[in-house]
């Protein structure tokens, strides 16, 4: 077996009193992919940066062994590190929109990397084109003059990878390289990385997403709080996790063909009444058709999932349902009465019947307000402390949070408070707008369970909008698949997921990591 590209033993990184990473060991060999997986704050990115000597200046790094390309790197200066950056190891960050210099074109960025890797001025242009072609950047002769902000998410991520490969490195460090991308594009980028690995590149992959990583990694290291919890081949971790934390993580992954226990809905009236009905909605922005002939029917106590990638029109649909945006044609009925076709004044007193659970709860709170003020605004009449406390209790948040501001809460608590505010209005319908997309997987599972409990206990109906097919599968009775403003497929969740009819739905499902299709 060949010598490892990187071999680290007992790496610890401290910021002052705070220990970000403690006693982590890892090694990456050529042609293999090692993945660091953990929730936010697990220290995974800090480790990845340390491998390139790109740590924070305030960080104190120590290790018993630190071999980079077989050479002891423990006493390296910035100058020494610079020699390996680019040529020995390249770095790919999350979103190329901010990870490529926004004032320089793709060509100039990749050229810089190629030149730093030792290519002469003469041979650089050809090499740049070759690299861009290799990563699947279309028509590089013409389009490489474009800037990151002019490219789609997938294309600029490919450009970023090309620039990381510019110095012909033997190791690629990829920090959440697919997180900002749509599923199908995510698949393509992962495939690209897998191909480079098969060509002999060593890859150190950093991700929060165990299921996505399992697909291409040969070895997975699960981190929590800067410590290694468990490691091994991905299939072993997924199927027989040894550590309770790993087990929890694996169970929290939303699956495609397995639904958590839910209260049987058929127990209610056989034909529940329709609460919200959208009929042939059409929304046009100048030349762009955002929604075309989109219909949706929501029955009491049920959840309709709306699946769509970026640009599919799902946010527009949400605004139309909420009646903050007027459709050009079609209308929305609430309880069988006009809703979208009303003057705002007439709608105002009924507004409380539809509430929103936002993607980013923090920005949905007035930054000057405490949790108590937030809830008081939402509760009917003159609500006192007791009512506020009761509202928090319903979403399992401790009462002492009342006096705090949202900034001082954890991500999960913020989302619970946002749900509490929505419930305080005693709505019939909850519109969940990517409500769990920004959360770590464990918290995500808790919030999904909370929403499910609310639906069952209060008979609230939900429209659950998300780009995440697996999450939608978990919560929905009926599913609508949106693409470019059109409904490409709709039906019961079981039908859409088990027996997809439309090619687009099939391709979406096929691009999901296989791990999601397995039972837990």
């Amino acid at each position: 077996m060949n010598a490892p590209l990187v071999e680290i033993h007992d790496l610890s990184i401290r910021f002052g009193e705070h220990t970000a990473v403690s006693n982590v060991s890892l090694s990456v060999r050529a042609g293999t992919c090692v993945a660091l997986v953990g929730e936010s704050g697990s220290g995974k990115s800090t480790i990845a940066r340390a491998v390139l000597g790109l740590g924070d200046q305030a960080a104190r790094t120590s290790s018993t062994t630190m071999l980079i390309d077989g050479v002891d790197a423990s006493g390296w200066t910035e100058r020494d590190w610079r020699r390996v950056r680019g040529r020995f190891a390249g770095l790919v960050l999350q979103d190329a929109l901010v990870s490529l210099d926004p004032l320089r074109s793709v060509r100039r960025e990749v050229t810089e990397a190629v030149r730093a890797g030792g290519a002469s001025r003469k041979e650089a242009p050809e090499k740049v084109l070759g690299l861009l072609r290799d990563v699947g950047f279309p028509d590089p002769e013409k389009r490489s003059g474009q800037f990151a902000h002019q490219l789609s998410g997938g294309l600029r991520q490919r450009a970023l990878i090309a620039s990381a490969l510019g110095g012909s490195p033997r190791l690629l460090i990829a920090d959440e390289p697919t997180t900002a991308l749509d599923v199908s594009v995510q698949r393509q980028v992962l495939d690209l990385l897998a191909r480079k690995r098969d060509e002999g590149l060593g890859i150190l992959l950093v991700s929060h997403d165990l299921a996505a990583v399992a697909d291409i990694a040969d070895h997975v290291i699960v981190l929590r709080g800067g410590k290694v919890i468990e490691q091994g081949p991905p299939s072993a971790l997924l199927h027989s996790p040894g550590h309770p934390y790993t087990r929890e993580l694996v169970q929290a992954i939303p699956r495609l063909h397995h639904r958590p226990d839910r209260t049987e809905r058929t127990a209610e009236s056989p034909a529940p009444e329709v609460v919200l009905h959208a009929e042939s909605i059409r929304v046009q922005y100048r030349t762009l058709t955002a929604l075309d002939d989109v219909s949706l029917t929501l029955k009491r106590g049920q959840t309709v999932g709306v699946v769509g990638q970026s640009g599919s029109g799902k946010s527009t649909l949400l605004r139309v349902l909420l009646a903050t945006q007027q459709p050009q044609s079609g209308q929305v009925l609430l309880d069988g009465q006009p809703w979208s076709d009303l003057p705002e004044k007439a709608r105002r007193q009924r507004r409380r019947r539809i509430q929103v659970v936002p993607q980013d709860p923090l920005s949905s709170f007035d930054p000057r307000w405490t949790v108590r003020q937030i809830l008081t605004e939402a509760l009917p009449g003159k609500a006192g402390r007791a009512e506020c406390a009761q509202a928090l209790e319903a979403v399992a948040v401790p009462v002492d949070v009342l006096q705090r501001r949202p900034l001082e809460l954890s991500g999960g608590q913020r989302q619970r408070v946002a749900i509490a505010r929505a419930l305080a209005a005693e709505p019939e319908v909850l519109l969940c707008d990517e409500a769990v997309s920004a959360l770590d997987v464990l918290v995500q599972a808790q919030i999904l369970a909370l929403l499910e409990r609310i639906r069952a206990e209060r008979g609230i109906s939900m429209v659950f909008v998300s780009h995440d097919l697996a999450v939608v599968r978990q919560v929905s009775d009926e599913v609508i698949v949106l693409k470019d403003g059109h409904v490409v497929e709709s039906g019961t969740a079981d039908d859409v997921y088990e027996r997809p009819q439309h090619a687009y739905t099939k391709s979406l499902l096929a691009s999901l990591p296989p791990a999601l299709s397995e039972g837990a």
Binding site: T324, Q349, Q355, D360, D366, P367, E377, A378, L407
Partner: protein, 283 residues
């Protein structure tokens, strides 16, 4: 290790404690406040008490800052001068803030046509920096306190109004205004409850710092004769008087100048500290 500045740690969320410098600056501002409210408390003699026998005395126990060519106590004149310099600057900023808030909010909340029109007005106003505005007002209405205050206030409007407009537009589209709308609150309630306080509060602190800058403008303009006029002991006029005798007496120039510098420095220091605190709490 690294050759360039490292990525700094995320901004602290805890409000930072005031440093010794901030405390001293705050204490000094309290003294200035006392001088504004009751100058007699801080200065023994009046600003215009002339004493021809003891003119141009060097600083000493009787006259801390010395006396000027008419024998007036420079210390007393500096203390009483605060009533002009600081108050004019304060009024100008108040005018600018009022205009900025009203016009900025109007632009943000009244639809496209009004917004476009007001934005052009802001462009026009900002083409006349405060000194030019003061020159114009002095030419049209004659120099004096009213022209000066109005001109500086007007010149402050566009920058403040633009900030408020930008803030208000961002807040109007924010998720918390949406949340408030879905709760069935009226537009006016939402403006009062969310948009107004969140758009204006950062500008309030900026305005505090503008008081400092405006003191500079006020005293500069009255130095060149566009201020309240003699014998008002405005700090800039004191300096102009001092410059006439600068070749043989340094104190009538040095002390009023120090008063200006220290006051502005203190206001800026405290203002920036408060700004940091508020930012730490909000973002």
């Amino acid at each position: 290790m690294s050759e360039i500045a490292p990525a700094r740690q995320a901004p602290r969320t805890r409000p930072s404690r005031p440093t010794a410098g901030v405390l001293v600056a705050g204490l000094y501002l309290l003294i200035v406040l006392a001088a504004l409210i009751h100058p007699g408390l801080v200065a023994a003699s009046g600003p215009n008490d002339t004493d021809p026998i003891s003119n141009l005395l060097a600083p000493g126990a009787d006259h801390w800052f010395g006396t000027d060519e008419l024998g007036r106590d420079v210390y007393a004149r500096v203390i009483y001068g605060a009533r002009y310099s600081v108050v004019i600057a304060f009024l100008a900023v108040a005018l600018g803030l009022f205009g900025g808030v009203v016009l900025g909010l109007t632009a943000a909340l009244s639809g496209r046509v009004v917004d476009e029109g007001l934005s052009r007005v802001f462009d026009l106003l900002s083409a006349f920096p405060s000194v030019l505005m003061a020159l114009l007002f002095s030419a049209f209405f004659g120099p004096g306190t009213v022209s000066l205050t109005t001109a500086i206030g007007l010149a402050l409007i566009p920058s403040l109004a633009r900030i408020i407009r930008r803030q208000a537009i961002a807040i109007r589209g924010s998720d918390y205004v949406l949340a408030s709308r879905t709760l069935g609150h009226r537009p006016w309630t939402i403006v009062v409850r969310h948009i107004f306080p969140n758009a204006v509060s950062p500008v309030l602190l900026l305005a505090t710092i503008e008081v400092g800058t405006s003191i500079l403008t006020v005293s500069g303009l009255s130095f060149v004769g566009l201020g309240p006029g003699k014998p008002a002991p405005e700090w800039g006029s004191l300096l102009a008087d001092g410059q006439a005798v600068i070749s043989y007496a340094w104190w009538p120039t040095v002390f009023p100048g120090l008063a200006i510098v220290v006051t502005i420095f203190a206001i800026t220091t405290v203002g920036r500290y408060l700004q940091r605190r508020v930012q730490g709490r909000h973002s």
